[in-house]
């Protein structure tokens, strides 16, 4: 027999508590913003300059000893973390060392890297550097600027596209849902203090794309049903549309989530933050297309008569009668 995640017919009421859900989303966004402004993001070197070194050694990582060994080099702010991964072999111990950007220098010099290597070799003689990445403050400043522009541009472009394909109320609902997703994702990153680097920006934009994908599928059905059930109340139409697309929503979210979980567990630690961002994004994206985008659409109201050219589509009361 076939597996059914969602019964063939559902008639769940998604808007019974829509105020509550919108309220929860609003509060979450405020919390996310507070966390962002109070705690801030754990920016990677892409965004704040500096150097990260990935060390590999057969001996267990002793963060304290590493720190002591690097103390005499006067490198300023140095952070050392041990990297855990279930896939590492017993004798494969990895740490990440982050060194702040040095004064009057763009990227770190080869000499400095060598000094760090020698200092660490006193603690762990077999230590090797699997990667050394250094970004000067000049570039990092630009990268953060480009990243912000990219996210804003993406949301802007989407706003225009949906506006053209649907109506402004749809566009506004979808874009507010996107902002919601992006804000909550940034909030999670600031709360959990996962490293926030360029790849996370890519993940953020993918979340934008995915969340939108979900929202558009629901909206597409709403548009169809608005024509089909001309006399029905908007709330009912929205509810029917969400119920009709529900099995698809759950199915797609689950398959994507399955693929991401595999990547999260098996894909290695280098990419884990990136995959985590996407998993979280799919979760909030699915939620927001129903409880934020559609709920907002209900509040904004829509033009109901699709056969007549719109004279007053901006007026939300114009559409009630039809």
């Amino acid at each position: 027999m076939r597996m059914r995640l969602v019964p063939d017919y559902t008639n769940w009421d998604f808007f019974g508590r829509s105020k509550l859900w919108l309220g929860i989303s609003g509060v979450m966004m405020v919390i996310a913003l507070i966390s962002f402004f109070v705690q801030g993001l754990n920016y990677g070197i892409d965004f704040r300059g500096g150097t990260t070194i990935r060390t590999v050694s057969a001996q267990p990582v002793d963060v304290g000893a590493y720190r002591d060994a690097l103390q005499p080099l006067n490198l300023g702010d140095v952070s050392i973390t041990e990297v855990f991964d279930p896939n590492f072999a017993e004798d494969h111990n990895v740490s990440m060392i982050r060194i702040q950007a040095q004064d009057e220098e763009e990227a770190i010099t080869a000499d400095a890297t060598e000094q760090v290597r020698q200092a660490l070799a006193t603690v762990a003689p077999d230590i090797t550097f699997a990667s050394v990445e250094s970004v000067g403050p000049k570039v990092s400043g630009e990268l953060i600027q480009t990243a912000v522009i990219a996210v804003v541009l993406a949301i802007g472009a989407v706003l225009i596209y949906i506006w053209l394909r649907f109506e402004w109320q749809f566009a506004a609902g979808a874009v507010l849902a996107l902002v919601h997703d992006v804000v909550l994702t940034i909030g999670v990153f600031s709360e959990v203090q996962i490293k926030f680097d360029l790849a996370i920006i890519a993940a953020l934009l993918t979340i934008v794309g995915y969340s939108l994908n979900d929202t558009v599928v629901v909206f597409d059905r709403v548009r169809e049903n608005l024509v089909k059930y001309k006399k029905m109340e908007l709330k009912e139409v929205l509810n029917i549309s969400i119920n009709e697309t529900l099995s698809r929503t759950i199915m797609t979210s689950l398959t994507t989530m399955l693929a991401l979980i595999a990547m999260f567990v098996l894909g290695g630690d280098v990419i884990r933050g990136f995959v985590f961002a996407m998993m979280w994004g799919i979760f909030v994206g699915t939620y927001s297309s129903i409880f934020v985008a559609s709920a907002l659409l209900l509040r904004f109201g829509v033009k109901r008569d699709w056969t007549r050219p719109d004279a007053n589509s901006g007026n939300q009361y114009a559409n009630i009668d039809a």
């Binding site: 763009e106 990227a107 080869a110």
Partner: protein, 553 residues
């Protein structure tokens, strides 16, 4: 119903076959790579039996394009360098001083004596003893200006001459600065490319970024330090007249002169005239050699213009010392014994054989016109890259398997169709990536995994729609038809919006992020194609063969 024109079927299957055909080499990655390397070497250096055997590993009638592996997967070094374009202004103005002096000499009656004033490197300040002659002096100096050679700056002149009191200031015009920047960066790019090619590594990326930056990525190289050793040295060679020799680094040099250290003797400093007689730009050839004492040295030859200047200078200055300066250090300062007319000479110093060979390569490739400032350096070890590939592979296989199973359980036979389409989708994606020679990065692998997850979305949309249409029951054929038809607009809208974000990522992003954008964007195109057309054709074929009365989706 469910009729698909023959030509459409041919086109669809043809595209699928083409995609798989081009994806094929990636299944035999190391073998094809060896073949490609061997073919390239044979082209360059002629054939050996061993190379022929390597080339024969892969038949030449098959495509041999591979998906390039990014630095994060293969290991290697990445540098982002900023060209210090302003360096060139200073050199230009410095070289101008002798011309200005010579041009004003015949005008001594009106302008009086001419002296160079200390100034910042962006300008040339000249003092004349006769302030009334300023107008004439400026006129003469303007006569030295030349029209700017560039598209945007055409029509303007390259020098700006201003005068105040007894001082005349010469700077480069805005248009000339822009034109110079452009030339400097292009020249640097070309020289870096030549130097890296001389070392012969596989698939280096050397790209211009923005107005004054150059991105250099070389896979397989051990560290950025090694890469910098190849490209980093400017190898700015000049021949300058010697004014004096001493042991004080802070000795006052006098206007127009500079103090430079000796390369091989600690504590020895030379005072030199700043304007060089000849520069390395006028070299045509440089070869490693040995001097009469059997020590490593470098042999060089000037072009005709350089040879004439060099000849004239040596003829007029027999008996005076003369400095050979490389990157701000005096390599040697021999005394001119006789007129050297042929335009060739030899540089001796305390070189090792390796150093003399390197120096010859650098001189031959040409000097970098300006120094480089490294803004970003990344070294990724080959082991880390291999680990990432392995992890990515396993994760992709598990992810793919899970999705396939899930689809099969949910949609049964139709799930099988979707699954075949999904596998074709991945093959086509690799085919397209190989065809355009795209680079696969770690986020790119994640992009593929995400594509796997999302690729089934279009099919899910269609199948769910077919289920719905089956309930209104107008026969299975009609339901399938309607399912495809009605799901179309949702599929198009949903995927177009994702493509928009992929394009923005591609335009704004760099490096790994760009790789991700490419796989994501192309993945959407191939997945929509396979989900809509390929599954439809399969379902149509199945339907025509079995003619089922009822179907279950």
């Amino acid at each position: 119903m469910l009729q698909i024109d023959l030509w459409k079927r041919v086109v669809i299957w043809g595209l699928v076959a083409l995609g798989i055909f081009y994806a094929l080499p990636n299944a035999f990655y190391s073998r094809v790579e060896m073949h490609n390397d061997a073919v390239k070497t044979i082209e360059k250096q002629g054939s050996t039996p061993e190379l022929e055997a390597q080339a024969a590993l892969w038949p030449s009638f098959l495509p041999s394009g591979l998906v390039n592996l990014g630095l994060d997967l293969r290991g290697g070094a990445h540098l982002l360098a900023e060209v210090k374009v302003a360096d060139v202004y200073a050199a230009r103005l410095e070289a101008l001083w002798p011309d200005v002096r010579d041009a004003l000499r015949p005008e001594r009656d009106t302008v009086g004596t001419v002296r160079l004033q200390p100034s910042n490197p962006m300008e040339l300040r000249v003092k004349i003893s006769n302030p009334e002659g300023m107008a004439r002096a400026m006129e003469v100096a303007r006569g030295l200006a030349q029209p700017v050679v560039s598209l945007t700056g055409a029509g303007s002149s390259d020098l700006v001459v201003t005068g105040a009191g007894d001082e005349m200031t010469i700077t480069l015009s805005e248009a000339e600065q822009q034109a110079t920047d452009e030339r400097t960066v292009r020249q640097s790019l070309e020289i870096i490319r030549r130097r890296i090619d001389a070392v012969g590594t596989r698939e280096p990326t050397i790209q211009r970024q923005g107005s004054d930056r150059i991105l250099i990525q070389v896979p397989g190289i051990g560290s950025t330090a090694e890469l910098k050793a190849i490209i980093g040295t400017t190898a700015q060679l000049t021949f300058q007249p010697v004014v004096g020799r001493g042991s004080d680094a802070s000795a006052s040099a006098g206007v127009g002169n500079e103090v430079l250290p000796a390369a091989d003797q600690e504590g020895v400093y030379y005072t030199l005239e700043q304007a060089p007689v000849v520069t390395g730009e006028e070299l045509t050839d440089a070869q490693p050699t040995f001097d009469q004492n059997g020590r490593p040295a470098v042999n060089f030859r000037f072009n005709p213009a350089g040879a004439r200047k060099f000849g004239d200078y040596t003829a007029n200055n027999i008996g005076s010392p003369f400095a050979i300066v490389l990157d701000g250090e005096v390599i040697s300062a021999p005394v001119i014994q006789s007129h050297i007319p042929g335009g060739s000479g030899i540089i001796t110093g305390n070189f090792t054989v390796e150093e003399s060979t390197n120096l010859a390569v650098l001189l031959r490739a040409g000097a970098l016109p300006a120094a480089l400032n490294f803004l970003e350096e990344r070294t990724i070890g080959p082991e880390l890259g291999q680990d990432s590939i392995d992890a990515g592979k396993i994760a992709s296989i598990v992810a793919g398997g899970a999705v396939l199973l899930f689809m099969l359980l949910t949609y049964g036979l139709f799930g099988v169709f979707a699954n075949i389409a999904l596998v074709i989708n991945i093959a086509m994606l690799f085919g397209v990536l190989s065809m355009i020679g795209a680079t696969l990065t770690l986020p790119g692998i994640a992009g593929i995994v995400l594509t796997v997850g999302m690729a089934v979305d279009a099919n899910v949309l269609i199948f769910e729609r077919i289920r719905e249409e089956l309930r209104t029951a107008r026969g299975p054929a009609r339901a399938i038809e309607l399912g495809y038809e009605k799901a179309q607009s949702a599929i198009v809208d949903a995927n177009l919006t994702t493509i928009i974000t992929a394009i923005i990522l591609f335009v704004m992003g760099s490096g790994p992020v760009r790789g991700f954008a490419i796989t994501l964007g192309l993945g959407i195109v191939t997945s929509v194609f396979t989900a809509i057309f390929v599954t439809r054709i399969m379902i149509a074929m199945w339907f025509h063969r079995t003619r089922p009365k009822t179907i279950e989706v």
